[in-house]
Symmetry: C2
Subunit: 381 residues, 2 copies
């Protein structure tokens, strides 16, 4: 199958072929750069009498070359997403049907470009100098997989080479401003549930598909690295009267746990091909010992600009290992002593045992994560 | 999907649902125990006026409790397979079509029960005492994954506990006799190609899906262990005028290489989801350095009687590692000093570096072997 139908970096054409994911209806958009009449965000702008082209561009912020003024909130892609969701919620209530529903809202922000609505950015300007600088120790890239230093020193996209401290702080401010804007939009969505009488019987999950390095280790955005700043995401579950309000849980969990959790709360069985486990016992627990011994992530050549080596990461509560498969390179961190992941212990003879144990743990996780989903074995061969 | 439609060990019902593997026609049989009118072997016996039931049983050989007299060659499942193949070859020649064809012949032998045709077994009886005993060093199972010793000491199926040396030698003799019988059948197949004028333009590949431990380490048959006796199989390619006759190649190869090799000799492109690489450059070589650095195998819970832990094996020319995923157990062998794999170095501090390197090699191989086949990346996300 051809999942992609466009030449590399031809941003002006749509490139995602829909796969059948079980949704009966969807609205499609991507970042404002994708100019096509199929883009439902542009249709929404058009219906509001706005010009899509006008909002496809970032305007210089005047504060840093790396921070822009993006579309105002009224015209923002995040607002478009939430407006569509609210429309769904209200129509459902108006029809008065008892049919259960599920939907997924996927605003593009927070994400580079670092281009929050201007007023959201400006709230941070008085305190920019108080923003902590990214994780960085002089010379740290000398002890990490060589590609990280090469990429950093190339100064190409996502390298922070030559950035001033103020640039680095302003990018964080812009990212936080995008989070604030998204927070306001999520608030509108919860209000719509409340207004339509559906808040009490709706499980809301707030999460993300990735974070952002925001300058840690001389880099912005995410892959092909597997730093915690890119991998750790928020996870908030809200279900009044069912889930305990305000409870914080610090156990290790994975995004793979979400589908089994949803099925569990719906009283539906988990598909045997699902790798995760329902969080319901963790949420309603007590439970003995750690909920998960480790969490797993993988990077499989998702971008033709990246080197072709696949990478795997396993972390326990205390340690983390990243293997660059097919090479002798990798990363090993003591997250207690070095939560910023600046001191790579991969080649440290004193940590050889830990490296070996975590490598076997990685192999054990990935063999289950990557294998074809199989039905339960009942036969003898 | 339900791939199996029978209760565990209900041998009297068919249990394999056909999957679409691209073949336009097939004849199905399994070992003689599967009594069903769908069994094409039984249909073949019936057409010859023989009683299927009569040949479903092994008769005591009188030499060892573990060795039987199986069906005579005239009624043998291997002969049935080859007869069907010869029928195909001759019909193809009779039709005189230039259409290319491919088929796969899969006799059940050599395989337990150890039940060759009586006359094939008897050739070995005068030399039984010269047959080498299986690989075994006293106490070796104390340093291997615990399941191996438990299973051995249980005396259950496939354990050689309590076998005499003569039992062990006779089982090898019976296995070799089955190989001899199969060799004769393959000869008939090559003669049919010759007779019908198709031998010169037919690539014949002789191989197997597994070997047999034949008593090595106190066990017969194969899984869930990953010893070389179970994993190493013959591989003979025959293509007169195209492949050099009589050449022996000792490089490491995998069964995954066969499909790309066939496609290569047919002038067809390799599917990107195929893990193997065409052997054509190796066959037509010379090439620099080792053809493959390592070969990979996996065991993923193929039998509900086995413990549920998955296992992975990687071997280089000199060494071999088996990880029991999700446990601290495993195996590490120096194949130069210990080709019989009796001395497990897994917990030997002097081999910690080797263990760590091979474990990373295993992870690198399995992550590519087990991942969903993906089309080549052309897009940027």
């Amino acid at each position: 199958p051809e999942w992609f139908n466009h030449p590399k970096k031809d941003w002006d054409r749509p490139f995602e072929q829909r796969v059948d994911d079980g949704y009966t209806y969807f609205e499609w958009s991507h970042s404002p750069g994708h100019r096509t009449p199929n883009n439902a965000y542009f249709q929404w702008l058009h219906q509001k009498g706005m010009k899509p082209e006008q909002w496809a561009e970032n305007r210089p912020s005047g504060h840093s070359d790396h921070v822009y003024h993006g579309p105002d909130s009224e015209r923002h892609q995040a607002r478009f997403c939430v407006d569509k969701a609210i429309e769904f919620i209200e129509l459902h209530a108006a029809f008065g049907t008892a049919e259960p529903w599920v939907f997924s809202v996927n605003p593009f922000d927070p994400h580079p470009s670092y281009n929050p609505p201007r007023d959201y950015l400006e709230r941070y300007l008085p305190m920019v100098d108080e923003i902590p600088l990214p994780a960085w120790e002089e010379g740290e890239l000398d002890r990490k997989p060589a590609y990280q230093k090469e990429r950093y020193e190339s100064g190409k996209a996502h390298s922070t080479l030559g950035w001033s401290d103020r640039d680095k702080r302003l990018v964080k401010a812009a990212y936080w401003a995008m989070c604030d804007h998204l927070d306001a939009q999520v608030g509108r969505l919860l209000e719509a549930l409340e207004r339509s009488g559906q808040r009490e019987n709706t499980l809301v999950i707030f999460t993300s598909d990735h974070g952002d390095l925001l300058g840690d280790h001389g880099k912005t955005v995410k892959g092909p690295y597997l730093y915690e700043g890119a991998l750790r995401v928020p996870l908030v579950l809200h279900f009044p009267g069912v889930l305990p309000a305000g409870r914080r849980i610090s156990d290790l969990v994975e995004l793979t746990d979400l589908a089994p959790t949803l099925l569990d709360y719906c009283g539906l069985p988990k598909d045997p091909s699902m790798q995760g486990r329902s969080l319901r016992p963790l949420i309603e627990g007590p439970h003995d010992g750690p909920w998960r011994e480790d969490v797993y992530a993988e990077y499989y050549n998702s971008n033709p600009d990246h080197p072709p080596l696949w990478r795997g990461r396993v972390r326990t509560r205390a340690h983390k290992l990243v293997a660059v498969h097919g090479s002798d390179e990798g990363e090993l961190y003591d997250l207690g002593a070095d939560p910023g992941e600046c001191r790579n212990l991969w080649d440290d003879p004193a940590h050889r045992d830990l490296k070996e144990r975590l490598c076997r743990r990685l192999a054990a996780r990935q063999v289950h994560a990557a294998a074809d989903p199989l039905p339960p074995r009942v036969g003898v061969f």
